[in-house]
Subunit: 354 residues, 2 copies
């Protein structure tokens, strides 16, 4: 109704939809040196990701993102072109997800860029999918590969430290006083890490998948993977009072992640469990509907991976390893043969190695 | 419905109200060293004011503030008690205005505090009061005194520079490494500037007045005075395509402002026109209803000052001075006698003298 240019924006649910909607509200902040630096993210990437992180929160409730308000604190040394590029990224993400940017506040900042985005979404009344509904027997699923964003950041920090950015032809002739250059995507393409870098810089929240899943009415809990699979699984386990068992063999692992992890001798499971910022969805679904849901998403070109199952509490998260099945005593003279299990730590994600 | 603790908050209009409401959305950011420093504002003041600035935006549309989301980037050096005091101030303001804080994001910041608050309010559908409706003949009004916040900041900066803060008994024995102490209110009370300092630190937006005025249906434009009377009057003038004439003699001037301005030899009109952060309302109203509206507000203990009138465009803002009336030629052989007029500059408010 009223966009930028008065004291507030005025919004309403688009006409033609049912009035029985509720509003979803989320805010997310990105701080230079804490969540990114000039080498890891270009201005447009910061714009994209600061909105995408919030869009992912709306998706994690099964809702539709609709409106956003943007607070940007701009370093005093920034030239106007940098701010324009930041907004280019914001608007690209807004257009991609059908979000209207209806307000903003731009202030100066003494040193560091701070971007805080608030998103409003809608969901059919009473249909928001919380963390607290997982039931024993449910299947556990994710809507995309894990650990790619963390691996991308790992490569970016190494590339920046090794001077890949400075060596980029794009930066030839740059003034000595300019900010540290952003590691160019071309360098990632040459290194075979472009998919990882893009996963870090341009996350693509699972809004369509969330809406299709929510419409089925069989999803019992839902979270987005912002702080790492382990942390999000623990949130569902604790909120629902259940135990989640995740199968290592079923965790979706991209080829570029596996190749890069092998090259730098990192255990990929570390990134997949604790890496964070994947912005895929983690949820639980009534077991009888799991395969039908997966088929519906597949028909729309959207991935869904069944990665484990829910059992009765106490709250916990366990990893069923790929290693050879072992004989385990379950009673007097009774044994079972199964893959080894180990607890998954509750630790979350440290956004940025400093 | 759902507060802090899931991916998003879930909100709806309280039951019992008409469904014919629209949402109002506003965001406002406060940055350390840009809008305040440790000497001018205590943590709780920053919390109060960061929410109050948004509540004032909702009032300026004639709406009711309802929900807030808070993004705080906390300097790494802060001890937890400082953060608690910030939230104490936020919650005090939220309680005062009936706002539910439904979400937040706390991140660390390398050096400076940044607080971005988003507020959602509601207004009866189609009843939001914009800037663009002022009509020739309307009366111009404000809902409180002008310039006090700027005068308070003026005194605070002088007090901090003169070491009033350091000399405070509250700070005796403080460690040399602690942050610069906040100028205590007791020092302002001793100096007779407490009302000015509180106007700067704890602004009180005119929500009740806004609701009463909006219900009359005769308010044709409305703004809140965040950037100074001159700047806000220009916004109405330009949005409405009209000219506003403000009478110097009618501008509400508090006794403490007059006394302090006299003492430091500052022209009080400078603060009243260009000071900013008063967070009172500036609006226009159908002339036949102006006195009745004033009487209704007075009966509720709320001030309303008629300070001028609207005439046909071009867009502009004029000050009718208090000086002796002068004879002015208006046609061949025709003269009129009136107070001298001078244009009011469009310049806004520089938040903070650095």
């Amino acid at each position: 109704m009223v966009g930028i240019g008065d004291d507030t924006a005025v919004v309403e649910v688009p006409p033609g939809e049912s009035g029985a909607l509720q509003w979803l509200l989320a805010v997310d902040t990105m701080v230079e040196t804490v969540h990114f630096n000039a080498a890891t993210m270009a201005e447009a990437d910061v714009g994209w990701k600061s909105l995408a992180a919030n869009v992912s929160d709306i998706a994690a409730m099964g809702g539709v993102p609709r409106h956003a308000l943007v607070s940007v604190s701009v370093p005093q040394a920034w030239e106007p072109a940098r701010m324009r590029r930041l907004y280019d990224g914001l608007y690209a993400c807004a257009e991609h997800y059908g979000v209207a940017i209806v307000g903003g506040d731009t202030t100066s900042s003494p040193l560091h860029l701070v971007v805080a985005v608030t998103v409003m979404g809608t969901v059919e009344a009473g249909k928001a999918i919380r963390r607290a509904g997982a039931q024993p027997g449910d299947a556990v699923f994710v809507t995309g590969p894990l650990g790619m964003a963390a691996a991308g950041l790992h490569w970016l920090l190494a590339a920046a430290a090794n001077g890949s950015a400075a060596a980029s032809p794009q930066q030839a002739g740059g003034a000595a006083s300019s900010p540290p250059p952003c590691v160019p995507l071309a360098a990632a393409e040459a290194a075979g890490t472009a998919a990882l870098v893009q996963a870090h810089r341009r996350p693509a929240p699972s809004v369509r998948a969330a809406r299709m899943l929510a419409a089925r009415g069989t999803v019992t809990s839902l979270n987005d993977v912002s702080d790492g699979l382990a942390s999000e699984a623990w949130e569902i386990a604790e909120a629902s009072g259940v135990s989640l068992a995740l199968r290592e063999s079923q965790l979706p692992r991209s080829g570029s992640l596996a190749a890069y992890a092998h090259r730098v001798q990192v255990e990929p499971l570390e990134w997949m469990l604790y890496g964070g910022e994947d912005y895929v969805l983690l949820g639980t679904i009534t077991p009888s509907d799991a395969l039908a849901a997966k088929a519906e998403l597949a028909a729309a070109g959207l991935p869904m991976f069944i990665i484990g199952e829910v059992s009765a509490g106490p709250a916990g998260v366990t990893l069923i390893r790929d290693a050879e099945p072992q004989k385990r005593r379950v009673g007097v003279g009774q044994f079972t043969t199964e893959h080894p299990r180990e607890p998954i730590a509750k630790r979350g994600y440290n956004h940025f190695a400093q």
